[in-house]
């Protein structure tokens, strides 16, 4: 049961498939005819239809039609059945007058629905002279030298031509060059030999892919109908300026010719033979204008372009590679575009940009994209600005330079783990300071000290005077100071030597006062003797001499502490008695002896 249902569904599906096919009504006719000639107008449809409505054909005579034919094909591939049907209606028409006529779409009714065909344009040219005649004459000439099998074909019969899309261009602007073979529609062509296609000297070329099989189409050229085959299509870019001539090129075409039978016994099938016809084109000249003076950063691009850019990452770690991708798309000489410059700060290690292009040559010219990848590595962390890249190209359609810039990117660089310092040292690149111009240095604007011409401090009287005065002053100073020094040394020595004597002199006067019983004068003399003695011995002026300085001086000269104590007691006693006179003769005598003893002891102990 289930199987049956599946089977029904299967049938239904196939039925649907047939129904699902799109219904198309197609109208076809040659696109060029000569007035008075017959031609066919055919409607093809893949479904059975009815009520074919013809478009307005008032410009043509309908000679015959419609003649109806149909074909059906059924294909079974791996159990799958497909069916296709073709129904055609053919009319034979004749053009009444010259001109270009538009045939509006025809329509047909299929299953109650009306389908419309395409429209057509037919060019009608003046009636051709009977080409048969000229062919005949050619053949007659042919008969004489049929052995070499070469044919001469008049230029109006068959020729080759290089067709250029433009002949006034800018340098670098693309031109589409088409090599076309024109032949009389009645001339049977068998093939080609020795095809020498043009060498586009002075051009950069890019071939356009065309089908291998040459497809002949009717075309009107100089008011005549030809069958035209496109042999080659090329996009060419002039690389020089001035008038560039594309040299003539040649091709040998094999033509089938009917040979008149020389006798009844000739081979019946040898009536057709192949002949070679060598065709040579005319030279073509292209006038190329130079581009106006290019602005800075001109990339060499000529055409119509668009620029997009993309940064691979916005946040990286140091020494990670970052790629800035630049996409140039459009039509023009994409392959010849130089990579625009990316001006990065010195904190990046920048590699040479890598450019790849994906270009397709079509009838519209060379178009595609060029991708330029700028690879660089940041060395230090921080936030950097990737500057915008300016792309400048020339637009031949406006005759002006255009430019477009990419956006600025912000790149955040985090500190990486790699050995940074080693990396940096390796990649430090030094660049010489570029000298742009040379000029003298600016004037010196310092305060100047003018002097008389020829004057020089060296050799001037002042100069010599300094030496002279210096020497004299030194000599005087030397002599005077030396003398004074010698004197000073003598005074100290003499005083030292005389100290004992002077002290004893004072003691003697003390002895006189002792005998006279004048106690005050006596003690005064004793004190004088001591202070005078110490002043001379210790080289201390009397005015500066005090108890403390005296003790210091004595200690510095290694006098025994006991003696110093004795000296101090005498000093104390003398001063005490001076202000409080007491005691008698005995005490005075005792003091005198004591003082004499201390002085003689000191004399021994004070070393010079």
């Amino acid at each position: 049961m289930l199987k049956k249902i599946v089977l029904y569904i299967g049938f239904l599906v196939t039925g649907l498939q047939v129904c699902g096919q799109e219904t198309r009504l197609e109208m076809s006719a040659p696109n060029a005819v000569s007035a008075g000639d017959q031609f066919r107008l055919t409607f093809n449809i893949n479904q059975k239809g009815e009520n074919l409505t013809l478009p307005d054909l008032s410009n043509f005579d309908v000679l015959m039609g419609p003649s109806y034919s149909s074909s059906t094909s059924i294909q079974i591939i791996n159990g799958k059945t497909s069916q296709s049907s073709e129904y055609s209606y053919t009319y034979i028409l004749r053009a009444k007058q010259e001109g270009t006529f538009n045939i509006r779409p025809g329509s047909i009714e299929v299953n109650g629905k009306i389908y419309q065909s395409n429209s057509l344009t037919i060019q009608v040219v003046k009636g051709q002279p009977q080409t048969q005649a000229s062919q005949q004459s050619g053949q007659q000439a042919e008969d004489e030298n049929a052995d070499i099998q070469s044919a001469t074909v008049s230029h109006s019969e068959m020729f080759i031509r290089l067709e250029l899309s433009k002949q006034q261009v800018f340098k670098g602007q693309q031109i589409i060059a088409t090599v076309k073979l024109y032949a009389n529609p009645n001339m049977p062509l068998a093939g080609f030999e020795e095809v020498n296609l043009p060498t586009y000297e002075g051009f950069y070329t890019q071939d356009i892919d065309i089908p291998q099989q040459i497809n002949f189409k009717r075309e009107v050229y100089h008011d005549k109908i030809y069958q035209v085959g496109v042999l080659k299509k090329t996009v060419i870019f002039p690389q020089q300026t001035g008038a560039i001539t594309i040299k003539p090129f040649s091709i040998t075409v094999l033509v089938q010719q009917r040979v008149r039978q020389r006798s009844f016994f000739d081979d019946f099938f040898a009536g057709v033979q192949t002949a070679r016809a060598k065709l040579t084109s005319d030279p073509v000249t292209v006038s190329v204008r130079d581009l106006p003076s290019p602005p800075a950063g001109f990339s060499g691009g000529v055409g119509d372009f668009k620029l997009t850019s993309e940064l691979s990452q916005n946040e990286v770690t140091t020494n990670d590679a970052v790629t800035l991708k630049l996409n140039i798309s459009g039509t023009g000489n994409i392959r010849l575009i130089q990579s625009p410059k990316l001006n990065l700060a010195g904190d990046f290690e920048v590699y040479d940009p890598n450019a790849t292009d994906n270009v397709k040559a079509t009838d519209g010219g060379l178009s595609g994209t060029k991708t330029i990848e700028y690879l660089f590595q940041p060395r230090y962390e921080g936030t950097y600005k990737i500057p915008s890249i300016q792309f400048v190209w020339f637009n031949p359609s406006t005759g002006q330079y255009q430019n477009q810039s990419t956006q600025e990117y912000e790149l955040k660089v985090l500190k990486g783990t790699g050995n940074q310092s080693a990396e940096v040292i390796r990649s430090v690149r030094k660049q010489d300071v570029q000298l742009i111009g040379q000029d003298i240095r600016f004037i010196n604007q310092d305060e100047i000290s003018l002097k008389s011409k020829g004057y020089s401090f060296y050799g001037s009287p002042l100069f010599w005077l300094v030496y002279l005065l210096g020497s004299v002053a030194f000599a005087v100073f030397f002599v005077v100071y030396r003398k004074k020094l010698a004197e000073n040394a003598n005074i100290a020595l003499v005083r030292n030597k005389k100290a004992n004597r002077v002290a004893r002199k004072h003691l003697k006067t003390a002895a006189v006062y002792l005998s006279k019983q004048q106690s005050e004068a006596f003690y005064d003399s004793v004190l004088k003797a001591f202070w005078g003695y110490l002043s001379d011995k210790l080289s201390i002026p009397v005015a500066d001499l005090k108890r403390e300085t005296a003790i210091e001086g004595l200690e510095a000269r290694n006098v025994e502490p006991g003696l110093i104590q004795e000296f101090l007691s005498i000093l104390d006693q003398c001063e005490f008695i001076r202000f409080a006179p007491a005691g008698g003769n005995v005490a005075m005598q005792e003091m005198y002896d004591k003082a004499e003893g201390v002085i003689s002891k000191m004399e021994k102990q004070i070393k010079r």
Binding site: Q438, D439, I440, R441, F442, I443, N444, Q445, D446, E447, I448, S449, L450, K451, S452, K453, S456, F457, Y458, G459, F463, V466, Y467, G470, S471, A473, F474, F477, F478, Y481, R482, L485
Partner: protein, 250 residues
């Protein structure tokens, strides 16, 4: 208007005071800065005309001449500036640039190394600079000698002795360098060729054999003279005779 009054003032006052000359100098510098080179040159030459000179004055005047494309005069003034201030690096630089306009390319004869070293050392200062340093070191030398003789401390005496020996050496050397620089200034034997083209003769007469051809701006040395003829020596050692009118002494 102001400018003309100024010029008239300068023309009529022959004996300008130093302060006036300084004002002229300032005016000239201002003119140079505002690109009025001919006026600047005029003013600088006024100062020279007053019998005064200075390395800076010659340098600035040379610059003004250079800017007026009078390269030969510029070289002359730079050379004069260099004699007064051989240590100034700016003068050397500008002289080098001005010398690029001299046609002749003469290769210098190499000098022995001691002569070169002595010259390089001397060129660190001018004659007056060396004279002053010699003087100062002489005074220092006397002071040190005095302290050697009269100091009581043995250490100070020792130190003063060696220092005074050093100071004495400096005095002698800088004196000799001053003498050398002074002789360089006084030596008027250097000259520039001022004729566009001169044929150097083998003898002091116009019939002498033509030896070689030199062009204006070349620095030569005058080694002998006979009437109006001067024997010159090029830096490469070539000698010959030219007339006095083609030479201008530096």
């Amino acid at each position: 208007m102001k400018r003309y009054i100024f010029l008239v003032l300068i023309l009529f006052s022959r004996n300008l005071q130093a302060a006036d000359l300084k004002a002229v100098m300032e005016q000239a510098n201002k003119a140079y800065t505002s690109q009025d080179f001919s006026k600047a040159r005029e003013l600088y030459e006024q100062i020279l005309g007053a019998g005064k000179e200075s390395a800076i004055l010659y340098f600035n005047l040379g610059n003004a001449c250079f800017k007026q494309n009078d390269h030969i005069k510029a070289i002359l003034y730079y050379e004069r500036a260099k004699r007064l201030a051989p240590q100034n690096e700016d003068i050397d630089f500008n002289l080098k640039i001005a010398n690029q306009f001299v046609v002749d390319n003469i290769e210098q004869l190499p000098r022995p190394f001691f002569s070169r070293w002595w010259g390089n050392l001397a060129d660190h200062s001018s004659a007056d600079g060396w004279a002053k340093s010699s003087m100062l070191f002489f005074i220092l030398f006397l002071v040190l000698l005095g302290s050697y003789f009269f100091s009581r401390s043995l250490r100070i005496r020792k130190l003063a002795f060696y220092a005074s020996v050093f100071a004495g050496a400096v005095v002698v050397i800088s004196f000799l360098l001053a003498a050398r620089q002074y002789n360089c200034i006084k030596d008027r034997s250097s000259a520039l060729i001022q004729c566009p083209r001169v044929t150097v003769k083998s003898a002091p007469s116009s019939t002498g054999t033509d030896l070689f051809l030199i062009h204006e701006g070349l620095k030569v040395k005058i080694t002998d003279q006979l009437e109006k003829w001067r024997e010159i020596e090029l830096a490469d050692g070539n000698k010959g005779w030219v007339t006095d009118s083609c030479l201008v002494r530096i």
